[in-house]
Symmetry: C2
Subunit: 330 residues, 2 copies
């Protein structure tokens, strides 16, 4: 059986509430086999579980999971607990988040887990601790020896899958960050992952233009002509079912969405605006191109509402559901 | 009574079908008073009307409109007809489109019409004829002696109103096209128009960031800190109900949309992606800041389907409905 590890995220944020909500959803599903466990210091979760009339089982080995019907949350201790305040991100809370990631990575590399669902972390304190990666995606890519350019961030919701080809960079840096090579490399990652993880053997990729109206034949910008169209041509020559560039404003309409399996966007908001406009609470971040499945909710640590029972777990539960689907398809 | 002029647009495109569809909708509404007429060479419309069992009344003066129940489409001849081929944009078809705009402008400046609904034109042939404006919006701004920076393009649909502060420019030119002055000037235009045309006396304006996550406190770009936040502060100091910058990906979710009357976007696709994702066929382009009301559908000439009875008139009918609403509110 495939096993899924949930990492706690920054425990000063809403991560602890999310993993407990996932376990409550598991209990509510009645007699389903436990296919996941949580990587966290038990000190963080035990008081929360107790307050809800639940308990935990501390795992020595992640392969001994509870029997169906057992309501004890399986926890694998990642250590690094030295106290922290809920709602107040700190070096201490960031160290816990990091420790959970390291444990997850070690288990995945040893073949003991096949998927990781990560709760949100806060980057500033992680970096202050010495965490050397821009984010969790880059951490896992490095763990598995995969070049970051051979991974891709897919946002998936009930109505749309989309991949931004540039991510957390200033808008003014986007045009110079695009190249034929980059688009080609990312499109290959996406097409392979759709076949492997989503069981779409000949996926249809639609590519957005960078400029308004996809540049209007060069009247509003040259990147379509110089970069995007040649990249699409090269990929078509490989036999890929890819088309574009399409005017980004029309690409995400309901009629257009029926014509592709995934939209490649040129920058962060070109992908994130439509996915969050269509389905704010049910969309999921999936890292494509890793040897394991990795999914995450499409939101941050939400320190402002942490510990107040206000966190909406829908995106985290959707991330867990996507991890199961991808494992089933592999 | 307020009068609305519909301009034909490029007659080689779907404009003729749109204005006839508007008249058919008027007839179907039974006994409604005719509050609009069409500016076009009768030669273009008469055969289409005849094919549908309808006829026309050629107006000498736009103030003599049909009585309720009369099914004859009122047409004001703008001249310039020299033949053209449907589906084939040409200098001849562009000259007709231009003539209709000139007639509409003349009537509006003389106080004979209070609103103009424009069918789509094609810019390349207009420019080849000598039309000296980037588009219809700039033509009307110039006609009324209004600086283009004192007009704004609002996209309005059933679920969202949004104004892009830069429009048809390459994405790489967007950051340098933004300034505090420009944001302040545009926000004032928008706030005044919402009060005058939409009867929202103290409108709530929400401002999008330029960069991913609205720049994350300067970690992903500086424009929020250097330009957008000071502009918002200056407008708040004037008493405007304006806030932001908000992360653009979250700004258009259903929960966020309830918190503002209009979203100011920094560039074309930041505004157009959410409006077209939410309501592709019912969104409308409204020029704010003119002495008259001017609305237009949110699509182009569609030469490829012209004359085939395939054009969807919903956006054009919505543009006519918005024109009526704005006139009622003035």
């Amino acid at each position: 059986m495939s096993l899924i590890a949930l990492t706690l995220g920054d425990p000063a944020g809403i991560g602890p509430e999310l993993v407990v909500a996932a376990w409550q959803a598991h209990i509510a599903a009645k007699n389903a086999p436990a296919d996941f466990f949580v990587i966290a210091p038990p000190e963080v979760l035990l008081p929360m579980l107790e307050a809800k009339g639940l308990s935990a089982r501390i795992l020595a080995d992640p392969q001994t999971l509870p029997e169906p019907g057992d309501t004890c949350l399986p926890i694998l201790d990642c250590g690094s607990y030295s106290g922290f305040e809920v709602g107040k991100p700190s070096l201490a809370s960031a160290r816990i988040a990091w420790a959970a990631l390291e444990t997850a990575s070690t288990l995945a590399r040893a073949g003991k887990v096949q998927a990781i669902v990560t709760a949100p972390v806060a980057k500033a304190n992680l970096h202050a601790c010495g965490f050397a990666f821009p984010g969790q995606t880059e951490f896992f890519a490095h763990s598995f020896g995969v070049a970051i350019a051979d991974t891709a961030m897919m946002l998936a919701g009930p109505e749309l899958r989309t991949v931004p080809l540039t991510i957390h960079i200033p808008l003014q840096d986007v045009p110079r960050s695009l190249s034929q090579e980059h688009i080609i490399r990312q499109a290959r990652v996406v097409a392979r992952a759709l076949a492997r993880d989503f069981n779409i053997t000949h996926p249809r990729l639609a590519v957005a233009g960078l400029n308004p109206h996809a540049g209007e034949q060069g009247h509003i910008g040259q990147e379509e002509i110089n970069i995007i169209i040649p990249a699409i041509g090269a990929l078509q020559a490989e036999g890929m079912n890819i088309s574009g560039p399409y005017s980004a404003d029309a690409l995400f309409s309901s009629a257009q969405r029926k014509r592709y399996d995934v939209a490649l966007a040129m920058y962060h908001d070109q992908a994130l605006i439509p996915i969050k406009t269509l389905s704010f609470e049910d969309s999921v971040n999936i890292t494509l191109g890793l040897p394991i499945v990795r999914t995450a909710p499409d939101h941050g640590t939400a320190f402002d509402i942490a510990g107040k029972n206000q966190a909406c777990p829908r995106s985290f539960l959707a991330a867990l559901a996507y991890a199961r689907t991808c494992l089933d398809n592999r």
